[in-house]
């Protein structure tokens, strides 16, 4: 091989490639790099990114959803870590850049990492502004324990932890960020107060009346609002912990935590030290370039363009595009001309849109207003010379898309002003979509235009879901999902294809549950691995295995080939895994009835194995929590009781009240019936857990009306059967399926409903979703009236499943797999 030629070529290529170093891995930095990559930047640059936070890149706008528990932290990542690797980007995360040497073109991070650059992009964003109140910081100058900014994922996590132990939380600042913080904190328990310096909430976006409507909505949800309130200092107790907020008038509001949401300040220090021009933020020209140094660019909240510093996401998309056009030289004519501020959002359940001015400024400014305080609907537009210069929409924001576009484009408004506020004579939607220009933004979170969606459809994506996956439209806050669907439909000209994958039972196999059951029967597929081999091209999807196992058990009962690896760990070791990898042991205790002898045995076992927590469960049983996997079989053997099945997607438990034996109101033997139910269905798998209850009278002490199946005694040996109830993450009163005579009839209906559910519910679909999806009438027809003539089949299938069920704790002495409960010690050689 001719090494010298190869060497020279490689050198030549190295010379041509430039180093692009990006300081900041937030939404601005990452978006700018995405735009560079989209313009073939991977061939031009070696890209290096520095991020202050130890994570990949996440959508900061979504932090309020994380705080309120609507979304978990996983859902907010824009680019996971492998995105950087896939695109050849070097990421230094958790590395704050402290020094830029413009002469040597080298940046240095706090941890000592240095990188040379040809082109530097500063996207350091901003941080929470912390007013200099007494006690807000501790002796080291850090925010005091119990005082929080609301800016980063770490802020969010720390706030959630603190909120759970706080009685009262105070949010300083009644702007958008403060209100979102308040909304999020509410979900964690404390009573929440918002303290706002101005006379009305969100004074940057709303006028007095809009602020009052928002205040009423928030107060209705339990938030206490203090406007016109000036904070003097944070009060501490004798131990130095946060104890309250003191106002300038001397009054004190006691609290255990304070969230400061008093605005943001751009992070400009590193640029300042490097000698770049900094006014309110780092000054840039129309190419997003520093006037002092043509190798340095700035985008995002740390950039000042024509005197403006932006704190919203939309301007950032435009800036990132201009930067990428310039730096890749794809379009050297590209320039940024500033953004008009318009925003659409949802605060505490109130939808609102705001653009430009909130009050008229000139005597001839025209104001168009509609106000209906009862329903919280408020619309106000400010028109100057026939153009929209300001607007507020609350409650009903159906006209927001049109108005925001008219505002952004400065386009002339129709003479009939009323039509600006309301759809008069309801012009068809198609007209507005026809009129919508290609560069109008459909998704503001991810900056996706109508044109981008059109290009995606033209490239062959014909379903809303595939367009969303490809463009990320609708994947931010989600408020534009419906509009994205309409735009896709419009581009498809009515030929939009329904995305069938939402109906698939598991992602990798394009079949609904009934189709899959038919295929499994037709091809005689009795194990999970045979299903993957026959129907999924041999590709095994880990998450689909338990779903398929559940379906096969229901279809084949005792003829199912049980591959243990297809089970979730709980069903491999017959215990419920806990956050630290230990397990819980719950012995059977039908209807919550036990004996002194059993209690003594449970206590002895708990002592012998040093069980750290003994807890009564919601299902009226005893939970021994924190048990190591190795101890499970020994504990079961010592207990000598059957499994309580408190871990699987299966029949779980049947609660009962005290029934007729002692209760002076009891009408039916709920305890005895619960024991019969438990002994019959224990170990029977189902698509999701089944929690049952029996009640001895309609007082419902055992809460039978909010169970998957509940039987309520109403006297004369009659039982009401309720189905589809829930009182967990979701709350729903069960529907009365029927009233029957005698326990035997009640048991038969319970069985038959359960089997119908087992065969027809989707994986993890609880009865509270299943019953309304199928419809109570339809279920009653099949289960009670046998309208389809399948009752006998359902009953027989259930009997077969009951016969196939067994007590898994017997595996204590007869393990099913090698080292089922053990880790393996490799002997030293």
């Amino acid at each position: 091989m001719d090494g010298s030629v190869a060497q020279t070529l490689e050198d030549g290529m190295m010379m041509a490639r430039q180093r692009l170093v990006v300081v900041g891995n937030g939404m601005a930095g990452a978006r700018a790099v995405e735009e560079v990559l989209a313009r073939g930047g991977a061939d031009l640059f070696d890209i290096v990114m520095f991020g202050d936070e130890p994570y990949g890149n996440y959508n900061r706008i979504m932090l309020s959803n994380v705080l309120s528990g609507v979304q978990d932290t996983d859902g907010i990542y824009i680019n996971p870590l492998d995105w950087y690797a896939d695109n050849g980007i070097t990421l230094h995360s958790g590395a704050r850049v402290t020094h830029i040497d413009r002469a040597a073109r080298v940046v240095t991070a706090e941890n000592g990492v240095q990188e040379r650059y040809d082109v530097l992009l500063i996207a350091t964003g901003s941080r929470s502004f912390i007013p200099p109140l007494d006690n807000v910081r501790d002796e080291t100058g850090e925010l005091r324990d119990g005082v929080f900014g609301f800016r980063t994922l770490d802020d969010c996590t720390a706030m959630m932890a603190r909120a759970r132990t706080s009685q009262t939380a105070v949010v300083l600042g009644g702007g958008l960020l403060g209100l979102e913080a308040a909304r999020g904190l509410m979900t964690h328990g404390p009573s929440v107060h918002v303290v706002h310096l101005a006379q009305h909430l969100m004074n940057a976006q709303l006028d007095v009346e809009g602020g009052a409507i928002l205040r009423a909505a928030m107060e209705a949800m339990g938030v206490t609002i203090h406007t016109g309130a000036s904070t003097a200092c944070i009060e501490l107790d004798e131990s130095g912990a946060v104890a309250g907020v003191r106002f300038k008038d001397g009054t004190v509001l006691p609290c255990q935590m304070v969230v400061v949401a008093a605005g943001i300040r751009p992070n400009v220090e590193v640029a300042q030290r490097a000698g770049l021009t900094v006014e309110r933020a780092i000054v840039v020209d129309n190419h997003m370039r520093c006037p002092d140094d043509r190798n340095v660019f700035v985008v995002g909240e740390c950039a000042q363009h024509r005197g403006q510093v932006y704190g919203l996401v939309a301007p950032l998309w435009d800036q990132a595009k201009v930067f990428a056009d310039q730096v890749t030289q794809r379009n050297t004519g590209s320039a940024y001309h500033g953004s008009k501020l318009a925003t659409k959002l949802k605060v505490m359940g109130v939808e609102l849109a705001s653009m430009g001015l909130t009050e008229p400024q000139h005597p001839h400014d025209e104001v168009i207003r509609f106000s209906e305080t009862r329903s919280g609907t408020y619309k106000k537009l400010i028109v100057r010379d026939g153009r929209l210069v300001g607007g507020i929409l609350m409650g009903d924001i159906s006209k927001a898309a049109y108005l925001m576009q008219a505002f952004d484009r400065d386009s002339p408004l129709p003479e009939e002003r009323l039509s600006l506020l309301f759809d008069l004579g309801t012009p068809p939607q198609k007209v507005t979509l026809d009129e919508m220009p290609a560069d109008a933004q459909v998704c503001n979170c991810n900056g996706v235009t109508k044109g981008a969606i059109g290009a995606c459809v033209a490239a062959g994506k014909k379903t809303t879901k595939s367009v969303m996956d490809a463009t990320r439209a609708g994947m931010g806050c989600g408020s534009c999902k419906a509009l994205v669907g309409e735009v896709v439909e419009w581009f498809c000209g009515g030929t939009v294809e329904e995305d069938l994958s939402v109906h698939y039972y598991v992602p990798g196999i394009p079949m609904t549950k009934p189709e899959l059951v038919a295929a499994v029967r037709a091809q005689d597929l009795r194990s999970v691995s045979s299903v993957f081999a026959a129907l999924a091209g041999g590709v095994v999807d880990a998450g689909s295995k338990p779903a398929l196992a559940s379906l096969l058990i229901t279809v084949w009962a005792d003829d199912y080939v049980d591959e243990r690896d297809a089970r979730f760990i709980n069903d491999r070791v017959h215990a419920n895994i806990q956050k630290d990898g230990t397990f819980s042991v719950v012995p059977e205790m039908p209807g919550g009835v036990t004996t002194p002898a059993d209690l003594i045995r449970i206590a002895e076992v708990a002592l012998k194995y040093n069980v750290p927590l003994v807890k009564l469960t919601g299902g009226q049983r005893i939970d021994l929590v924190g048990v190591s996997k190795e101890d499970l079989p020994r504990m079961w053997a010592d207990l000598g009781m059957p499994s309580g099945h408190a871990y699987g997607k299966s029949y779980r438990t049947c609660k009962s009240c005290i029934g007729t034996e002692f209760c002076r109101f009891g009408l039916g033997d709920s305890m005895g019936f619960a024991a019969k139910i438990e002994r019959r269905f224990r170990g029977v798998d189902s698509p999701a857990k089944l929690k049952l209850a029996t009640a001895g009278c309609p007082r419902n002490c055992s809460e039978a009306m909010v169970k998957d199946i509940g039987a309520v005694a109403i006297g004369n040996d009659r039982w009401e059967i309720y189905v589809g109830g829930a009182a967990g993450a979701h709350i729903r009163k069960g529907d009365l399926l029927c009233t029957v005579d005698g326990e035997d009839a009640a048991m038969l209906i319970t069985s038959r409903f359960m089997q119908y559910y087992r065969e027809n519910a989707k994986w993890k679909e609880r009865t509270y979703t299943f019953v309304p999806r199928i419809g109570l009438e339809r279920i009653r027809a099949i289960v009670v009236d046998d309208s389809d003539g399948i009752a006998a089949e359902l009953d027989a299938a259930m009997e077969r499943s009951i016969a196939a069920a067994y007590d898994p704790w017997k595996e204590a002495t007869a393990p099913k797999t090698a080292n089922q409960f053990a880790e393996i010690l490799v002997p030293a050689s």
Binding site: Y55, P80, L81, S529, A542, G543, P546, I569, N819, V826
Partner: protein
């Protein structure tokens, strides 16, 4: 880079097909997976997200899903959605698993 040395960690039959087990090798614990089709992989034992026991996870084709919060890692590269795990080379010779552990 430090040297790697192959250490025999016992017969493959100790791990049921499709499952993982923790194996304690000296002062190190490895999660070792035995997939359908015979592939064998070894990784660090805990998930970097919240410390979930990876050996208790469900396996797919070259993947494992942490049992606590469903993060899926590629067993060949260790790459996960927002964090990654260390993988240790492992091969099977005459039914015996050999891992290549870096010497200290």
């Amino acid at each position: 880079m430090s040297d790697a040395v192959a250490i025999a960690i016992g017969p493959l039959s100790q791990i049921p097909v499709g499952e993982g087990r923790n194996m304690v090798v000296g002062d190190r614990t490895l999660a070792v997976f035995h997939l359908h089709g015979g592939a064998v992989y070894a990784t660090q034992p805990t998930c970097p997200h919240r410390g979930g026991p990876l050996a208790d996870g469900l396996t797919g084709s070259h993947t494992v899903m942490c049992p606590l919060h469903d993060r899926v890692f590629d067993l060949r590269t260790g790459v996960g959605p927002d964090c990654s795990i260390a993988v240790v080379p492992v091969r099977v010779q005459d039914g015996i698993m050999l891992v290549e552990l870096a010497t200290a």
